[in-house]
């Protein structure tokens, strides 16, 4: 049974006014989008005139004020069924007035039409007249169109005649400007079927047999009030009592559900309106009627709306699995999806989310609210506004939200992986994959130079302890360049937070279809972390032999986060390497094989660090050229620079000797054929003497009178003699052999000391040991650590 909606009742009023003579207008159009009920309304009106007696009973049942005539005639024409060239012909035929047709020439005149109502009221109905009109070809059917136009004009004119009981009804979709122009000439009443104001009543009437008046309102109110009683913060309802009343009125549907569906369909005027809502609700009732006491938004099956936005629907489906672990996550997501596809708002407020999902027998509003907040970052396509007041689904994954969520999760559950990420960024991004990170990674014990970075910010004592552990049992101790941070890293919450964010973003790889945005986010997050970390490096740990040869000392030198900078600080000075080689071989009576010496440089931290083997070989070559070492090959094959032996290939088996440790016979040349002279004695002198010769500058000679007036003069020459060694005894020995006790007087001494990182106390002690002089100049080279 049809429900007399507000719109229909408006139409009824117009009919009644005409019938009762209160109004002359019998023309009426029904408008509205597809599904608004135009055709249904037209049929109701048709039945009023076609079966007035039956209709009158129905009208009275609904308590509507309309007095129908005892008899009347009606004819209805749906252009989808009637394809007449001249539309009046089936009308006159249906009304049994073919006789008039015979009298019509080009089109019915008003007189012809007035003849129709001579005996009783007549109502003529057109459904979808615009479709029929627009089917004519305007150029080919010009005459037909013109004849039909005159008919329609006359029809609505007569319908507007107070003397004639003629009614003309037409449904309009606003598709034809011609029809609109023709019909509106007489200003017929227009009833908007969509703007009925009682759509909910229509829906309820059409879905349920039970009339609203027969529903047990108390029982309904009991159910509804249980809901309303729980509608507390953060649900916001202005007037709970009024809201409750509305819920009673729309029962068994939640008013929010009906409003939402109304908005969803209303937004798309082209779509089937109430008819679509009807189907959705009918389906929901069928599925849920024995499961729930109130149908709310989340009870709706979202697939019904996939046509509105297939992509968004797919996103919803994709996210269902993601929120599986969240209580009512899927219900909340469904509610949010439905609000999102509503084109005007495209979002669900917190209140809408909760009202659309909450059922008092299942959970509490608080718990549901927690679940709602928990969705964010878990559902890949869920986003919310910055105030967290509205939620919505997006077609593209909400990556920043997901990253934030994953960041929070790893911070809570996966500290180990965060540290791994930190290590990865330090190694690959900060240090360009050129380092090991200790102790997180195993550092190979190898001959090649290795830079090792630490993330722990430690005091000197703690660092020393940790590095002692590292070096314990390690063969190649002097190939490791340790760099420590100059600020906290591992224990800095900001750094850990950023590393967690990088990890969070990387964890999403393969889980979201992002079109490349995730890669960009990962890149940005890594860059941000890298920049932060770069500022925190670093200090290179420099080892050196203790001042008295008692163990090794540790110092920290500023470096930037760049292996090349660390190497620059290490230095490539082969002079120091050469000095160390000489020092070592001086203590080795039988010399040291090149391979063994090179190995020592790599093993022992007291030695200078070799940036490359080439530095070592170059230093050996230089020492040889400077006649500071002698080399020995297999089977007593000695290479003696003092004898001008060419430098041999520096193969591993060669042994390096300090000249002082070699027998004099090594330096003896093959006997020369020439007779010996005074110089022969010098030739037999020790290698030190040879050194001295080589290092002695050519004397400057000047004549000095022994007495001012004397013509005899004594030649005095000035000679610079270089004494070199690592202790006073060696220098004294050199001085003994090179300075003539009777003839020579020393006038100036330049002392230059290479020392091993003296502390202040050690320096003072050193200076105090120096003898006094007329004037002493001292230039100190000091390495100073900057405070950070």
């Amino acid at each position: 049974m049809t429900y007399p909606s507000n719109a229909l009742q408006t139409a009824f009023d117009h009919v009644d006014n005409k019938l009762q003579g209160r109004d002359n207008q019998g023309g009426l159009t029904l408008s509205g989008p597809y599904g608004a009920g135009k055709s249904h309304g037209l049929l109701v009106l048709y039945h009023l005139f076609n079966r007035p007696t039956v209709a009158q009973k129905w009208i009275e049942e609904w308590d509507v004020s309309l007095n129908l005539p005892e008899s009347s005639k009606a004819t209805i024409h749906s252009t989808s069924e009637t394809d007449a060239d001249l539309i009046w012909e089936p009308i006159f035929e249906d009304l049994g007035r073919e006789d008039i047709l015979d009298d019509i020439k080009r089109y019915p005149t008003t007189e012809h039409l007035e003849q129709l109502t001579e005996e009783e009221p007549v109502a003529i109905f057109f459904d979808e007249i615009e479709t029929w009109w627009e089917s004519f070809d305007k150029s080919e059917n010009e005459e037909l169109l013109e004849r039909n136009e005159f008919f329609l004009q006359h029809l609505f004119e007569v319908a507007n005649d107070p003397q004639e009981d003629l009614f003309a009804f037409a449904t309009l979709l606003d598709k034809s400007q011609d029809i609109k122009r023709i019909v509106n000439r007489t200003n017929p009443y227009a009833v908007d079927m969509n703007d009925t104001g009682d759509r909910e009543q229509i829906i309820l009437h059409r879905l349920f047999e039970t009339r609203q008046d027969d529903v047990d309102e108390k029982a309904v109110r009991d159910i509804v009030s249980e809901y309303v009683d729980h509608y507390n913060y953060p649900i916001e309802i202005d007037e709970p009592k009024r809201y409750e009343n509305r819920m009673v009125e729309t029962y068994p549907f939640h008013p929010e559900l009906l409003d939402l569906l109304d908005d969803v369909y209303d937004a798309g005027r082209e779509r089937q309106s109430v008819r679509g809502v009807m189907n959705v609700l009918a389906d929901t009732v069928r599925r849920k009627y024995n499961e729930t006491d109130l149908l709310i938004t989340c009870d709706i099956e979202p697939s019904a709306f996939r046509g509105i936005n297939q992509t968004l629907f797919n996103r919803y489906v994709s996210d269902k699995d993601a929120v599986d672990d969240i209580d009512f996550g899927e219900d909340l997501l469904r509610t949010i999806f439905l609000y999102t596809i509503e084109e005007r708002e495209q979002r669900a407020s917190v209140t809408e989310c909760l009202l659309g999902t909450f059922k008092p027998q299942k959970t509490t509003v608080d718990k549901l609210h927690m679940s709602l907040e928990g969705l964010y970052g878990v559902a890949h396509y869920l986003d919310r506004d910055s105030q967290k007041e509205n939620y919505y689904l997006t077609e593209d994954p909400k990556l920043t939200a997901l990253v934030t969520r994953e960041q929070e999760r790893v911070l809570e559950d996966d500290r180990g992986s965060i540290e791994e990420t930190l290590v990865d960024v330090v190694r690959n991004d900060v240090w360009s994959d050129d380092v090991y990170v200790y102790p997180d990674e195993d550092v190979p014990d190898r001959k090649e130079l290795t830079t090792v970075v630490m993330l722990d910010y430690l005091s000197n004592g703690a660092l020393r302890g940790k590095l002692d552990d590292f070096f314990g049992g390690r063969t190649y101790q002097n190939t490791v360049l340790f760099v420590t941070p100059k600020k906290e890293i591992r224990d800095d919450s900001e750094i850990i937070g950023k590393a967690a964010r990088v990890l969070g973003a990387e964890n999403l790889r393969g889980n979201v279809d992002d079109g490349g945005e995730l890669a960009s986010i990962i890149r940005d997050e890594r860059r941000e972390l890298r920049n932060e970390l770069e500022d925190r490096f670093g200090k290179w740990v420099k080892w050196s032999e203790g001042p008295n040869g008692d163990g090794i000392r540790m110092r920290r030198i500023d470096v930037t986060a760049d292996v090349d900078d660390v190497k620059d600080k290490v230095g490539r000075d082969k002079t120091y390497v050469g000095e160390k080689i000489r020092e070592e071989v001086a203590d080795a009576e039988n010399g040291i094989a090149i391979a063994s010496m090179l190995n020592d440089f790599k093993q022992f931290r007291r030695m200078p660090i070799l940036l490359s083997d080439e530095v070592f070989y170059s230093a050996v070559s230089q020492l040889y050229r400077d006649e500071k070492v002698v080399l020995e090959g297999d089977r007593a094959n000695f290479y003696v620079p003092q004898k001008s032996d060419a430098l041999p290939d520096l193969t591993d088996d060669l042994t390096i000797h300090h000249p002082d440790n070699l027998d004099d016979s090594i330096f003896e040349e093959e006997p020369e054929p020439e007779p010996s002279s005074e110089n022969e004695g010098e030739g037999e002198s020790s290698s030190e003497n040879n050194d001295t010769t080589a290092l002695t500058q050519k004397p400057e000679t000047k004549a000095v009178s022994s007495k001012p007036d004397s013509t005899d003069s004594v030649t005095v020459s000035t000679e610079v003699i270089k004494l070199e060694g690592n202790n006073a005894r060696v220098l004294r020995s050199m001085a003994d052999s090179r300075i003539n006790g009777e003839k020579d007087e020393t006038t100036h001494i330049d002392l230059s000391y290479d020392v091993d990182n003296l502390s202040k106390d050690e320096l003072v002690e050193f200076l105090e040991q120096l003898p006094s002089g007329k004037h002493i100049d001292a230039t100190l080279t000091v390495e100073r650590e900057d405070e950070n």
């Binding site: 039988n590 094989a593 020995e632 089977r635 007593a636 004898k643 193969t651 088996d653 027998d663 093959e670």
Partner: protein
């Protein structure tokens, strides 16, 4: 330590045990690994140089006398004499370690090579062809020999066959570590298969390392003189006259041969080896003996 041992050289009637003890102290306990162990060579050289400096007669009289008169190969009763060709104190100390790890209780001592310190001269000296007739013997030339178990004399060509292959001139063919590993493998295989109560492991001679850092320093003139006289590590007195080198203290004459003393050597061209024997150095002439009761 060294002073004490030097004192013994003077005080003892026979200085050889003191020299042997010093050598053994240098080489035993063994190094942490084979490479480290062989680096003791330097210490050995120093000692030999010192001995030559303070007790030249040890090289000119004592050691030649011992080699001429006391080189021996005594097959133990109910046992086997295993000759490890060219085994020196360097290897013997590591064999002792190996045997102890296997659960044996080895006893160590020493003997002598002949002069020159070559297999041929040793075999002649101990009358090896007679020994072979009287004892069941086996010749071992691989790391994986097959023995009957009741052999009384076993002549293992290792390490001598391997020493020659370590180096040809400046070309490295193998390594001293590899040489040792293969020799030990062969010895283990021999010991595993012998079914006798007692085993004596000895050698016909040792060897001298003449690579860099392991020789005595020498003048160019002396080098030239040696080079002109010697084509190998020894020369027959009938072939050359090296009396001037004997006078110079570089060479000793014994049993009709001239041999360089200790680590004296001279440059050689071509495919020379730095692992040599035939001369009169401590590690060539004083050979280790290890006795094991099974």
């Amino acid at each position: 330590m060294r002073t004490e041992l030097l004192t013994q050289l003077v005080e003892n009637d026979d200085p050889v045990p003191a020299v042997w003890d010093t050598l053994w102290d240098i080489w035993y306990p063994t190094g942490d690994d084979v490479s480290e162990h062989y680096r003791r060579e330097t210490e050995s050289v120093s000692y030999e140089r010192l001995l030559l400096d303070v007790y030249q007669e040890f090289f000119t009289d004592v050691l030649p006398h011992k080699c001429v008169n006391e080189a021996s190969l005594n097959v133990p009763e109910d046992g086997t004499f295993v000759v490890m060709d060219a085994m020196s104190v360097r290897e013997a100390s590591m064999f002792v370690d190996m045997l102890q790890e296997e659960g044996y209780e080895p006893e160590t001592g020493f003997s002598f090579s002949s002069v020159p310190s070559e297999t041929k001269f040793y075999r002649d000296r101990v009358n090896y062809s007679e020994l072979k007739r009287n004892h069941k013997t086996a010749d071992v030339k691989s790391q994986d020999p097959t023995l009957d178990g009741d052999e009384e004399i076993i002549w293992c060509r290792y390490p001598d066959a391997l020493l020659e292959n370590i180096q040809e001139g400046k070309t490295k063919l193998s390594s001293i570590e590899e040489m040792y590993e293969k020799t030990e493998t062969a010895l283990r295989a021999i010991l595993d298969q012998l079914d006798t109560d007692r085993i004596v492991i000895g050698s016909d001679h040792g060897y001298a390392r003449l690579d860099a850092g392991h020789t005595f320093q020498i003048s160019d003139g002396e080098k030239s003189a040696l080079q002109e006289t010697f084509s190998g590590r020894f020369e027959s007195v009938g072939e050359v006259d090296a009396s001037h080198l004997v006078d110079a203290g570089l060479v000793v004459e014994a049993d009709g041969y001239y041999m360089p003393i200790g680590r004296y050597t001279w440059p050689a061209r071509g495919k020379y080896s730095t692992f040599q024997h035939g001369g009169l150095s401590l590690l060539e002439c004083i050979t280790p003996r290890i006795e094991v009761t099974l």
